[in-house]
Amino acid sequence: MTVTTITDAQLAPKDYASDQEVRWCPGCGDYAILKAVQKACADMGVVRERTVFVSGIGCAARFPYYMSTYGFHTVHGRAPAIATGIKLANPDLDVWVMTGDGDGLSIGGNHMLHVLRRNVDLKIILFNNEIYGLTKGQYSPTSRRGTRSPSTPLGSIENPVSACAFALGAGARFVARSIDTLQAHLIATLKRAQGHRGASFIEILQNCVVFNDAVFENITGKEVAPDAQVLVEHSKPLLFGKNKEKGLRLKPGKLELEIVPAAPDVLVHDETNRPLAQLLAALEPPFPVAMGVLYCNPATSYEREVVVGSGGSLDALLNGERTWEVVP
């Protein structure tokens, strides 16, 4: 095992940038995510040589090229499988999976399900722009019904998947949501994920300026944001609105949330409560969309439970239980 003598604690965000020119479209939300990740790395003192960014295919998948860490740009949808192999080979590496809605929930949906279920110690960052960008604008598995695209000229007739609800359903033990433009919130959420041991899943609502511009405007627009988002924090009441004048509580006699004026019976967020996380993950307009760490309940990660030894005697293995001798 190589022991590094360089401490990266003093590194600045720019030290996590590679020498490669960033090639996303001007105005793409991915720039903000790259900036937030580099800031989070600097804040957390991430050690570059111990860190691997793994991606599949798509706009988000270009991410590793722009980081000064180790990086592996793999094939469409398979990054969770490759990252699992990396962790099995070396559990001490800090491994991030950078994916998108098509990469992570369509072609790679199966791998996403299993990597979350196994709880492999990975940070999985899903850039959700509700569209296939790199292939020029087809509807994706998170596109809303009616989305018009080159492959759905009459509008999509499919129901979208909720990334966070999927992750919770798969058994993820850390599920969070943030927004590309919500820089401080995004950095704080990334740092929470970085501190978590096990699979940590973050959905980032990300604007595609070319093919799906303003698709989240009803949630992220300056005017509507206070009413359209609820920023959840552990052990804090679930309040939202310009002056935190509204809250969420359980509808009496029902297992569903309702909006009420801020009052003592507003629910207090408990990030270790899976049923509450599931209710929060499912909120969509006209309810406020939940942002922040919806669920965090760590358990031993997969690769730490793998038992492996070394140094077994090869002669003993090859000889086994029953042999016979042929003499010359």
Partner: protein, 632 residues
């Protein structure tokens, strides 16, 4: 306990014998065969086995599709195949008789359990009349014993239920066969005591049945029907021996290769598939040797996890059978593009698609050599026998790590399950080829090539100052950065091809397994057909034919002298268990007028199939050559 270690006077001598145990899939024929194999090994004979079992886990009792068989060929002279025609068939029920009897030699012995030939079983097997009561078996020597009753009598003192007693029938049959060939029972008794350690009554009953079968032979010997035989010991290289299946050989070879390369950890990722799963099961028990096994969610993830492990500096290995290998194709492309070591073991089976999962074929050669998008060369090698599986796995590790390339090992369903004696190597005699991970930052870029091998450096993430990015996008020859430059792509395509082609300088020259290096006819094979071709060529040469056997172990790239060698023969014949694949590769590569000889019945070649073809005749009709078509 009466044992007959010394062949008794009156026993007849046989150079070699082929026995097939056949019964219902619940009759324990595989364990019966395996135990007979063990006693044969301990008696000093050479042997080769062929287990043939149905795809159904437990087919309805008494049906023909539920017949499970185990064949063993053993003798004093080099036994290279499980044998063509059967000398002794043990048929535990009518279904086993009807399925297997056509392979018995004229004059061969058929042993049946008369009790099983009742109306119900006869009907299930499709017999209108009882074949034991008409002359339909006249060309065989049929030994009719009420094995069910004889077993029940033997185990009576142990107070078993009739169902439990019935399950001891296979041990009675085994006891009789061990007597016939003068084998010991000690190892079997030890095995029964171990297997049923927690059920001593069952162990005792099985041992009683075994002894009763043996004693039956002993007492019936002087009758006109029962003859004991003696088979001479084989003369083999001195050393310590054990039995080995292809699966075991591959698993241990991978571990030995890991040691040879000095790599700390192997990550073996697989997904359940017949007949490849056995390798996953075997390696799952080898944690103490640095082996991590990972049962992935699918074949794609299995290959991805293996590749990820290689990227991180471990030895990544994945395994499957044809349809699963198809799913790994994409990841092989990435492994080729990123130039990482990856070992892929393909236990080939009959296809296309699901095909016949338990039946062997050699039909993935094209898939292995060419089955990817774009120009995507890699190394392909194939073991020639179960014992060679060990050596080929070590060679796969050597090539994958030295050339930073995926290596496909083409095994098959037959090699996976078949067993042969194997001289156990000492760790000290195994090859050493330690890998070097790059740690030096000075002048580093990820695609800097070794001038000799053209391999790029292997860097473990975790190494300071060597942080770099790789991926499936084309990269610049000189810097490793993403590049869409047209000339660069041409240069990189050539570099990838030259790297694999260069392996030809690092592997043995193609040898001639039998015969001269020139002449009238070369019979060229690959993979598990080695034994059948070798025996056939030997027979044909003894008859005076000018024929040689060449067996190609390295299929991509070919050994560098192969083309010149083939051109020294007037004719080249290529027997394959596929519809003509190697023959087309040879024709394309060397412009030789090679003739194909296909067999696609899901069963291995018989020696006689090939002998007939060498003589110039048509293959014998019963079972035939399967396809018989000319390829190429």
């Amino acid at each position: 306990m009466a044992t007959s270690t010394v062949p008794r006077p009156g026993r007849e001598t046989r150079d070699s014998v082929v026995i097939r145990f056949a019964g219902d899939s619940g009759d324990g024929m595989q364990v019966t065969g395996s135990q007979f194999m063990l006693e044969t090994a301990l008696a000093g004979s050479d042997f080769s086995t062929f287990p043939d079992f149905p795809a159904e886990i437990r087919a309805p009792t008494g049906t023909t599709f539920g017949v499970s068989a185990f064949q063993i060929h053993f003798g004093g002279t080099d036994v290279m195949t499980p044998g063509d025609a059967v000398d002794v068939l043990v048929a535990m029920n009518p279904a086993a008789l009807t399925v297997e009897v056509s392979d018995v030699k004229v004059g061969g012995t058929v042993i049946v359990d008369t009790d099983a030939f009742n109306e119900r079983n006869l009907k299930k097997a499709g017999y209108a009349k009882n074949p034991l009561e008409d002359d339909s078996l006249a060309k065989y020597q049929v030994l009719k014993f009420d094995i069910t009753k004889l077993t029940a009598d033997a185990v009576k003192p142990h107070g078993l239920s009739s169902r439990e007693a019935h399950l001891c029938r296979n041990m009675w049959a085994l006891g009789l066969l061990l007597w016939m060939y003068g084998h010991e029972r000690t190892a079997t008794i030890e095995w029964l005591n171990r297997k049923f350690a927690k059920k001593p009554v069952i162990a005792a009953a099985n041992i009683a049945a075994l002894n009763a079968g043996h004693a039956f032979g002993e007492t019936a010997e002087m009758t006109e029907h029962m003859v004991g035989y003696v088979v001479p010991k084989a003369t083999v290289q001195a050393g310590r021996y054990r039995t080995v299946t292809g699966t075991e050989g591959l698993a241990w070879g991978l571990v030995a290769g890991l040691r040879a390369a000095g790599i700390e950890k192997m990550v073996f990722a697989g997904y359940p598939i017949t007949p490849a799963s056995a390798l996953l099961h075997t390696l799952a028990n080898l944690r103490a040797y640095g082996v991590v096994t990972f049962q992935a969610e699918d074949e794609i993830a299995a290959s991805g996890a293996a590749l990820g492990a290689s990227y991180a500096g471990a030895l990544g290995v994945t395994s499957s059978s044809g349809p699963g290998i198809a799913l790994k194709t994409e990841m092989l492309g990435l492994a080729i593009a990123t130039e990482l070591p990856l070992i892929v073991i393909d236990s080939q089976r009959a296809g296309p698609s699901t095909g016949m999962p338990t039946k062997a074929e050699q039909s993935d050669l094209f898939q292995a050599v060419h089955g990817r998008n774009a120009d995507a060369p890699l190394a392909v090698i194939a073991p020639t026998s179960t014992a060679d599986c060990f050596d080929i796995a070590i060679e796969a590790v050597r090539l994958a790590t030295k050339y930073m390339t995926p290596v496909i090992v083409l095994s098959d369903g037959y090699l996976a399950h078949a067993a042969e004696p194997w001289r156990i190597p000492h760790e000290a005699e195994l090859p050493r080829f330690p890998v070097t991970y790059r740690t030096e930052p000075e002048g580093f870029h990820p695609f800097l090539r070794d001038p000799d091998t053209l391999a790029r450096p292997w860097v473990k993430p975790g190494t300071p100052q060597l942080e770099h990015r790789i991926g499936g996008l084309e990269r610049d020859y000189d810097s490793g950065h993403i590049s869409y430059d047209p000339d660069n792509h041409a240069r990189m395509t050539k570099a990838r091809a030259d790297k694999i082609a260069g392996i030809a300088n690092d592997i043995p020259l193609q040898n001639v397994s039998l015969g001269e290096d020139h002449g009238k006819l070369a019979v060229v094979g690959w993979g598990s057909t080695f034994g059948a071709i070798h025996q056939a060529v030997k027979i044909a040469r003894d008859e005076g034919n000018d024929v040689a056997h060449i067996h190609v172990r390295y299929l991509s790239p070919f050994p560098r002298n192969l083309g010149d060698l083939l051109k020294r023969y007037d004719r080249v014949l290529v027997p394959e268990m596929n519809n003509g694949q190697l023959v087309k590769l040879l024709r394309a590569e060397y412009l030789v007028d090679a003739e194909g000889f296909s067999k696609v019945t899901g069963k291995p070649f018989r020696v006689t199939d090939i002998v007939q073809r060498i003589r110039g005749g048509a293959p014998p009709p019963s079972e035939g050559s399967g396809f018989g078509g000319e390829a190429g």
